[in-house]
Symmetry: C2
Subunit: 204 residues, 2 copies
């Protein structure tokens, strides 16, 4: 990836943060372009499918945050060592995406009455259901999400965690000691530690 | 993948059909286990995250349909030839998943009033927005979704297409000549042609 490399997203951590983590870990210099929300109508038609984040590099306009993370992971041996490890990484990442989408569907629901009906099942059923199982996987995998070692699945999860806690109003890993260790380890990785220290302060 | 290989899903095409297509194309013998919907409460706790399809093979219980498809694709050279091709395949597949989730959110909405408010924007805005852009990609890629050649992205799209047309009540590719060619080509692939001829008849 030759410079310039430009990441475009809202002025938020959101689903761009795992990409910022991976770019930082890869030691790839990037422009962290954060547009103001009121400018989104002008920016939207310039994106492949009306969504961000978008990562521009080497003449490519890449979209879909998970696809971008998987691509970056291959550059620094954070992918699996074989096809079965990759399968397990991909499955847990898509599972995290499922949980993330349930949380954002609740947070961004504009109808107050509908939002209220979503809250209790999300906080008391869905989140505990997912987190109990994700924690069990981390416990079996030496405080990692797959393959018993650091992979981009760990970085993806820790990258979106702050935002998901904020949006759900709940510390997702409060009862998950293995995931707490994983979070500490990821936040101490070279590149990521420096990124987190210098990144703009945002709620989510 | 040594036999036995068992695919577990509802008695539907749904999101299991791309896996059935790929298993058939790979010439992998599999048990196409379709449980009755009333048995789901007993089956759900046996799955990794309370969801199907699940593919059991070589002592592994694989979940997440897209992850399973990506894994199968690697066995028959339907993945990209390099990391950039894989990035483009992954991005278009996750985009198709986004569209699929919008369609199923509409179809499975149980509140009649909410469902009605979802219908018009889905049929008149969301679906045309996505399909126009997916068709443009297919037109540029020689009637394929990425890399100018047959990849698992094509098989994923054609595999879920029937169900998505049924659930939305709309022929998604009616105005998409390149995607119509792609569909014909995929349905004529060795293994897939035979599978489609013999598969159980279901609405979606």
């Amino acid at each position: 990836m030759a410079p310039p490399c430009k990441l475009m997203y809202y002025p938020l951590k959101g689903i761009a943060e795992p990409i910022r983590f991976l770019l930082s870990y890869c030691n790839i210099e990037f422009e962290d372009y954060r547009f103001e929300i009121e400018n989104w109508p002008q920016i939207k038609p310039t994106t492949p499918f009306g969504q961000t984040p978008v990562l521009e590099f080497d003449g490519i306009t890449a979209h879909q945050s998970v696809a971008i993370c998987r691509h970056l992971a291959k550059k620094v041996k954070l992918a699996g060592a074989n096809d079965i490890e990759d399968l397990k990484i991909d499955a847990i990442v898509d599972t995290i995406v499922d949980l993330r989408k349930k949380i954002t569907a609740y947070y961004y629901e504009t109808d107050g009455a509908i939002r209220e009906t979503l809250k209790k099942p999300l906080l008391e059923e869905t989140i505990p259901y997912y987190m109990e199982r994700i924690e069990a996987i981390a416990k079996k995998n030496n405080c990692h999400l797959a393959a018993g070692k650091l992979t981009w699945a760990d970085i993806y999860f820790v990258g979106i965690l702050d935002a998901q806690c904020y949006l759900s109003g709940k510390n997702l890993i409060a009862d998950c000691p293995s995931l707490q260790v994983m979070q500490r380890n990821v936040l101490n990785l070279p590149g990521i530690k420096e990124w987190v220290a210098k990144r703009p302060v945002t709620d989510f």
